[in-house]
């Protein structure tokens, strides 16, 4: 198999942490309106984007996920008032740590998708999936020394 073919074969594994109150419902809406959504995303439903802590994200990354999407309510719309603001700060820290160590921070993405934004959900997932496809597999896979 040539390198080019291999690239074409690569189907990323992306883990999506979706907020129960917005993005998870948007995913439902996107499905019921039969929008085309990349099958690369494995959805984990969380009660709030702020539920997603650093170790959860690092575990996901170290277990070999090629990309991680955290999606929650738009700023100002958090079901619990301010969870997404805290999530955003925490995400900024993790992103910076990965950047500081050169660990491909672009494999992480935070997006705001409300319950009514089925189209936006499909766009976000498809675009992120394309991005990860272009990045290639998570280099941690196949590193027995990690």
């Amino acid at each position: 198999m040539t390198e080019k073919q291999q690239e074409r074969e690569f189907t990323p594994k992306i883990v999506g942490f979706l907020c129960n109150w917005c993005t998870y419902a948007a995913a439902d809406l996107a499905g019921s309106t039969k929008l085309e959504i990349s099958p690369t995303l494995t959805v984990i439903r969380v009660m709030c984007s702020s539920r997603v802590d650093h170790n959860l994200l690092l575990t996901t990354f170290f277990e070999g996920a090629d990309g991680i999407l955290i999606a929650g309510c738009h700023p100002g719309d958090c079901h619990y008032g301010k969870g997404n603001y805290y999530a955003r700060r925490r995400y900024a820290v993790l992103k910076k740590v990965m950047e500081g160590l050169g660990l491909e921070p672009e494999r992480l993405q935070l997006s705001w998708v409300s319950a009514s934004e089925g189209n936006r959900y499909a766009d976000v997932v498809n675009a992120f999936s394309e991005k990860i496809k272009a990045l290639g597999p998570n280099p941690i896979n196949g590193r027995p020394d990690f």
Partner: protein, 364 residues
């Protein structure tokens, strides 16, 4: 009046100040580093009796444990306590107070412009005491002393932030023969104001300290550059942290890592056979003990913005990982996100405990 000058060396001046505080009953105890004159061993003494101060070594270039960490168990103090601590130890304590792991109430903080400390492996050498006079001379003349901890040579925050009392040592040629004691707060003026000496309105000359800060900054750039390409990219991360034996010593001595039950020592990082079997089938080979590299990255995301660069973690590492330098390097990036400086102000909230509605719009 904002300063008192004594006709004795700075270390002797600090001891005289502590004796005054104890004998006048202004404080009930003092916390200060000591050196056993017979064995040369250092410790941190909690002293209520004036005679106990004879072995005090307040500014010896030694850090056995972060005094900020120790202070947690002594506060909130019921009766006044005076503490001699290095600028980074004070900053660490402030970070702990923010985490409700201590209180500044009834504590008189005495700190000094710091020349850095030597790694513990140097401190335990028999001839260490001979090093000190020369060290003090070089520090007084504003030099960076070779052989001190990496993060000390690269430390720009050697002028104490928020100390009640500051003694001038680094970059103060007069500190060999005279002791300048600066009283920065009302608490300091109330407790120390009665000390006999030459009073004046002097303040620390920023021109002098800035000169040393500039030197340290150059040293810091050198240190950070020496870490790259190590620590850059997955290969770099494995190269640097791959030596880890998983002892968690760096976390134990860290004044910022205060969690009694660290996530990494909890059952969630206790794996069973099915886990290993699954991992093995995916990778073909596994690295054990598990999560040694993960531990460092987890700690970095949890607390790097609060890192004061005291350097204890590098000192205790049995396999020589430059933990402190890596944390200082990454910590500067994470702190800069929030324009945060660890230990600058006790009223300043931890960056992950607060938010602004309008910020990081590029992130999500």
């Amino acid at each position: 009046m904002s300063s008192i000058n004594l006709d004795m060396s700075a270390p002797d001046g600090i001891i005289a100040l502590l004796k005054y505080l104890l004998s006048s009953g202004k404080v009930s105890a003092v916390l200060v580093p000591r050196r056993n004159p017979d064995t040369g061993a250092y410790d941190i003494g909690l002293i209520a009796d004036e005679a106990g101060l004879d072995s005090a070594a307040p500014v010896d270039p030694v850090m056995l444990a972060n005094t900020g960490q120790i202070l947690s168990s002594l506060t909130p103090a019921k009766r006044s306590l005076a503490v001699v601590l290095k600028p980074c130890e004070l900053r660490a304590f402030v970070e702990r107070v923010k985490r409700e792991q201590g209180s500044l109430e009834n504590v008189l903080t005495i700190s000094y412009t710091c020349g850095g400390v030597f790694p513990l492996e140097k401190v335990i050498e028999e001839s260490f005491a001979d090093v000190i006079p020369n060290y003090l001379k070089r520090v007084a003349s504003g030099e960076i002393v070779d052989g001190t901890r990496d993060t000390c040579r690269a430390c720009e925050h050697f002028v104490p932030m928020n100390a009640d009392v500051t003694i001038s040592i680094a970059a103060d040629a007069g500190s060999i023969a005279g002791c300048r004691i600066y009283l920065n707060t009302d608490r300091a003026r109330e407790l120390v104001g009665g000390l006999e000496g030459k009073q004046s309105d002097d303040e620390i000359d920023p021109a002098v300290t800035l000169k040393l800060a500039a030197k340290r900054k150059v040293e810091k750039e050198k240190l950070f550059n020496s870490l790259a390409p190590t620590g850059d990219g997955l290969d770099g991360v494995i190269e640097v942290f791959g030596k880890c034996v998983g002892c968690h010593g760096c976390g134990r001595v860290c004044p910022i890592c205060y969690c009694l039950l660290c996530d990494f020592e909890s059952r969630s990082f206790d794996y069973d056979l099915p886990y290993f079997e699954k991992e093995l089938s995916g990778k073909g080979a596994l690295r054990l003990p598990p999560d040694t590299i993960f531990f460092h990255l987890g700690r970095m995301t949890h607390m790097s913005f609060s890192c004061v660069g005291c350097g204890l973690c590098s000192d205790v590492c049995p396999v020589g990982i430059p933990v402190a330098s890596m944390f200082k390097k990454v910590g500067e990036h994470t702190a800069a996100l929030f324009d945060y400086v660890a230990g600058r102000d006790v009223e300043e909230k931890l960056p992950v405990m607060v938010y602004k509605e309008e910020e990081f719009s590029e992130l999500g």
